[in-house]
Amino acid sequence: MKSISVNNLSKSFINGKETVEAVKPLSFEIDKAELFGFIGPDGAGKTTLLRMLTTLIIADTGTATVDGLDVVNDYKEIRKRVGYMPGKFSLYQDLSVQENLEFFATIFQTTVKENYHLIKDIYDQLAPFSDRPAGKLSGGMKQKLALCCALIHKPTVLFLDEPTTGVDAVSRKEFWEMLKRLKEQGITILVSTPYMDEASLCDRVALMQDGKFLRIDPPSQIIKNYSKKLLAVKGKEMFPLLQHLKQIDGIEMAYPFGEYHHVVLQNDATSIDQLKSKLQSTQELEIKPATPDIEDCFIYAMQNN
């Protein structure tokens, strides 16, 4: 049995006179103990999709099951089994770390002790602040506490909505390591994120834009399928260089990428020297072939959508 299976699920919102299709009809399946990522820019429909799967909103069309249970008819049973961590920190800010954890354990009819093994790694880091009001924790600590609260009833599926947004790089890395360990315990994890670099940490990712999936594949597969020739270009004056690159024939796309500009060539046969001569640049240029990563794939997919 698949952990999650979605069939033609869609949702629109009415905003004034216009109807916004937040999620266009989608179908996909997620295996047990899979770490599945929804990657996409703000407004791609990630949160709406998660809210439909966590039974918070009802889809306009289509069906979905979580753990074999229908999200509309068996929503009560689903709520006992899933853990949800909304994008916005939504624990009681005026209750302490300890009190929040105990509160959520109790309303799931369990105790902190019973499932302590699940959260031990995470909670150990929070323990020194257990008497502090949740509102006074740092961003990373808040996310860790929220994760603890979402895990305390030993869910079979965990939904995380942008858990690392606004968290520093070190905490983000730690957070993903925790997710990996949870996955090993057999918990299915669905995580949405706007950060491309986190995509490679998932078992499979869905690249999402405007309520549609552009690709669903393991990250390595997505990179492998990238068929274009990619070059990295660097010069002294980066901004005029980018403007210049965008105007040249034979270049499909050019975009800033770290300290280089990445250039996608229309024709794979075009060589670096040919490009150099086309550029006729006055400044010293460094041009070298680049290996695509998930971000290149996503940018390309978005452009050709």
């Binding site: 709520r79 009681y92 209750l95 109790t106 309303i107």
Partner: protein, 372 residues
């Protein structure tokens, strides 16, 4: 049951950690009960009178002395012509003009009757009415006095006369505070009940915690009970505080059984809490909840018979007051505190309020959605 217990524990913790709520519960009732009854007062004092005396006689001087001696009227001006007096009224210095015509004494003695002229500034209707009425009473007394001086009473009064003596029941001294304080207590209770509940739930919406609660298997009625019970307790606490302030500061001891007041409040509060719940279902932000509650409170207070008598409202407004829970409690409060009414007297009110509680809460529970 166990989750309800924990919900309650959580709510009370949050309430006691919020200094704003604590201040509102402790300080607001005390201040309102001390200040409001003193200022919300219909007794008219310091009516400024301008006298024009064309007569300058003994009788006119005696009349002026009588008018100003009562304490209600302050002699603001004394002039020789009407123009000057009117100027005073136009500048809002005087409320009343009393003009004594020339030959007032002569006419009074000769013809046993003399005209006087009164002009009243009627911008403030209540003040004008009451001022003129006071002045008329004084003039009548004065008239009576003169007549008794003149007329030799025969052994038996030849003309039958009716003398009216009023006897004020339940509020012998017509004390305004005795009338206002019980009403203000009801308003306080209503504010604590509806404002705090509405704001509390909407705050969970605003902060996003309700989202987290909604994905849990928590039962809808547990969640709602967890919200209502703490504010029910707080409401009864505020009532106790109000009764204590009334007792210590104004010496108001309810004539009836104090238990009746608590019984009524215990049923009244769920009705008001249900209203707060409804407001919170409609509102998305605390600001919306606040404005909506404020709007409702204004109507409740102005149409609840706190300041103005419901009997003198137009018929349609009286019908509206039937749907105002505040009306019933203010009435019951005054009945029990002033009149010493018993259970049998208030059981009709009690029934109506119980109906309010059932209807409002059912409506609130049905309209509360754990998902959209």
């Amino acid at each position: 049951m166990r989750s309800l217990k924990f919900l309650l524990q959580k709510e009370f913790r949050q309430i006691f950690r919020n200094p704003a709520i604590l201040r509102m519960i402790f300080i607001m009732p005390v201040i309102q009960l001390i200040v409001l009854p003193l200022v919300a007062n219909y007794e008219i004092r310091n009516v400024n009178i301008h006298v024009i005396d064309h007569d300058h006689s003994m009788y006119s001087r005696e009349l002026i002395r009588k008018v100003t001696a009562g304490g209600v009227f302050q002699l603001q001006g004394y002039s020789a012509n009407y123009k000057q007096a009117l100027l005073d009224v136009e500048h809002d210095k005087s409320d009343l003009i009393l003009e004594i015509p020339q030959g007032f004494e002569k006419q009074l003695v000769r013809e046993s009757e003399a005209p006087l002229f009164i002009a009243v500034n009627a911008i403030n209707g209540a003040r004008a009415n009451l001022g003129a009425a006071y002045l008329n009473t004084i003039l009548r007394d004065y008239n009576q006095e003169i007549r008794t001086q003149w007329i030799q009473f025969p052994k038996f009064d030849e003309i039958p006369r009716v003398e009216v003596i009023s006897n004020y029941w339940y509020n012998t001294h017509q004390s305004y505070t005795l009338f206002m304080v019980p009403g203000i207590m009801v308003v306080l209770l209503t504010m604590v009940g509806s404002f705090l509940t509405a704001l509390n739930i909407v705050k969970e919406k605003e902060v996003g915690t309700i989202e987290q609660i909604n994905v849990t298997p928590i039962r809808k009625h547990h969640f709602i009970l967890g919200k209502l019970i703490p504010f029910w307790v707080l409401g009864l606490f505020v009532l106790t505080l109000g009764l204590l302030v009334g007792r210590v500061i104004y010496g108001i001891v309810p004539m009836g059984n104090i238990g009746l007041i608590y019984l009524f409040a215990a049923i009244y509060l769920p009705a008001i809490l249900g209203l707060g719940l409804l407001v919170s279902n409609i509102s998305q932000t605390q600001q919306q909840a606040m404005l909506l509650s404020f709007f409702l409170m204004m109507i409740f207070i102005l149409m609840g018979g706190l300041y103005t008598s419901i009997d003198s409202m137009p018929q349609w407004a009286q019908v509206v007051t039937w749907f105002n829970p505040v009306t019933y409690f203010i009435e019951v409060m005054r009945m029990v505190v002033l009149k010493g009414s018993s259970f049998n007297d208030i059981k009709g009110h009690l029934g109506v309020i119980a109906l309010f509680a059932v209807v409002l809460n059912t409506w609130a529970v049905v309209s509360y959605r754990k998902r959209s």
